[in-house]
Symmetry: C2
Subunit: 330 residues, 2 copies
């Protein structure tokens, strides 16, 4: 998704993340050698473990180290990452993720039905992990998050190739796609850390706003030249998905330029040249900078949620993740 | 799956099942008119609500009517049915189920990606329903069941087109496919009914054995002429899936007949005539009757689990379901 290195975070975090990764590997082990290998590759390709890190750090911010059951906290962190992985598998984007890391793609090795089942299996494993701590409230927050994610993906399918979308629709979509799980990671971490209700709410809000900013940055990166990002440019436009830079472009551009991009969005068979032209129109417009400003505002509002929190290594690391989310674009 | 009418069960049950159905409809409502209609059709096409009936009756057998929270019990029953529906959607068999009821098929109306998401959405709804009663033990049993189902479906994919399978493998497969959810329905119903641990275990065992017999009968029905069953004959053989009648046939038939069927199983491009011939060889063999005897034995063992139970309307209805499961074949 980016080439920017993760910043150095709280030292003890890496060990905990390592243990979360071990839990994930164990939960994804199966008796079929071939499939097991693929599952392990998916789990290992898990990248930066951003979501479990957020859960672990939110628990740290809660500030009751003596109250934390570290095994249960790690189970929750692992469940969040497993859910993320399962949605990636069903989202088909895992192909791209694996490809980026030089592995074969999932769909090239397995039939469609098997891919569905692999995703289902990972869903089931995330459900098992989230029940381990024996906290029904935690399970319920997790299940609601899953429903939100599914609802959002369905919305995306039904809004594809429609250039006319409200800001409200876009915000709802990126919330479902990204911010809901960020919010859940922070909320569950805070609960496992023994935070009071007010702080749980604030950490959830932090995750929510951070996730919104993170996804807008992702949507911006999609317009960057592939030399910089290492992935194809304009993937969203090609798929008929309207994201913030495009929406702002429709509002701010000359009518004939806006019309051109609208036609590209609505056209399944748009040529590479037309897509490229649309990408460049947007990237070189004021809309592009305006989208970045919006991402910046979300991240700032996220950080503001924790402005009055007592200094701690966990807090410091959480704020670094917020800066990292924004900095990926530069 | 069959033309046999469900037997008359405990009178109060129909009202409870009706309320469970309402819960399912509500949980599957979405804001996209077209998709919402399809989801409702899937839910309405839910057939006999066998699994929620088992959960409700198991609670009745537990014999502590004063201890039962009927809302929570119905939530559990609805979660079980929702999970069943979600697996059907991903299993693609929902197409067949809808077709049988004269509706359009799911895959003909939606793209593959949407079908996956619809299934995921129903999974999420089942997860939400199962968290409602706030009992982590219940959620955990449910999540383990989901993992078992997924594992079994993966096994099925990896064993397709291999004629050589052990009885152990077959039993594991039909347990995952059918008996695990039957067992879970009874176990969760028993827990919600306030049964002690011993009775919970016995009701789970009842559901398990009943599910084994039920699936064997299903596998037998697959060989019956379509004039009787209303569905295509030999679907399993066509897909290269070896079930009990075929396994017993390999053990009991003349070598040249067994070899013929083995070739059909292993051949993706087997002709309709060859499949029909294989079906008839099996249906007219002693293996076919032997498979039925095995189903009968499972059902009998299921009923034996409850032999010492005090007479009650719930018990009576549960035993009727067992007889019904077996009778579908005749």
């Amino acid at each position: 998704m980016n080439t920017l290195e993760m910043p150095k975070l709280q030292t003890s975090l890496d060990d905990e993340v390592e243990e979360v990764s071990k839990m994930l590997v164990e939960a994804a082990s199966l008796n079929y050698p071939m499939l097991s290998g693929i599952l392990q590759a998916i789990i290992q390709a898990g990248g930066k473990r951003l979501r479990p890190r957020m859960a672990l750090l939110a628990a740290g911010v809660a500030g009751h180290p003596e109250a934390i059951d570290h095994l249960k906290l790690k189970q929750v962190a692992a469940a969040v990452e497993m859910l993320h992985t399962a949605t990636l598998v069903h989202d088909d984007t895992i192909d791209e993720a694996l490809l980026r890391r030089g592995s074969a793609t999932l769909n090239s090795m397995l039939s469609g039905g098997t891919v569905i089942l692999v995703g289902d299996y990972l869903f089931a494993q995330s459900a098992i992990l989230i029940t381990r701590p024996g906290n029904p409230h935690v399970v319920q927050i997790f299940a609601e998050c899953l429903a939100t994610i599914c609802d959002g993906e369905l919305t995306q399918i039904f809004s594809t190739r429609h250039w006319k979308q409200s800001r409200e629709e876009y915000n709802k979509r990126i919330y479902s796609k990204t911010a809901a799980l960020f919010a859940t990671a922070c909320e569950l971490g805070a609960i496992m850390g023994g935070a009071d209700e007010e702080l749980v709410g604030r950490l959830r809000r932090f995750g929510h706003l951070l996730g919104m900013g993170f996804q807008i940055v992702d949507d911006i990166i999609d317009f960057q030249p592939s030399e910089i990002t290492g992935k194809a440019t304009g993937g969203d436009l090609r798929q008929g998905i309207v994201t913030l830079p495009t929406m702002l472009f429709f509002e701010m551009a000359e009518p004939q330029d806006a019309d051109f991009v609208k036609k590209v969005v609505g056209n399944k068979a748009a040529s590479d040249a037309d897509i490229q032209k649309a990408v460049e129109l947007i990237r070189n417009s004021k809309a592009f900078e305006a989208a970045y400003t919006e991402a910046h505002d979300f991240i700032q509002r996220a950080k503001d949620c924790l402005a009055d929190e007592a200094e701690s290594e966990s807090l410091h690391s959480l704020l670094k993740i917020a800066d990292y989310a924004l900095g990926r674009e530069k």
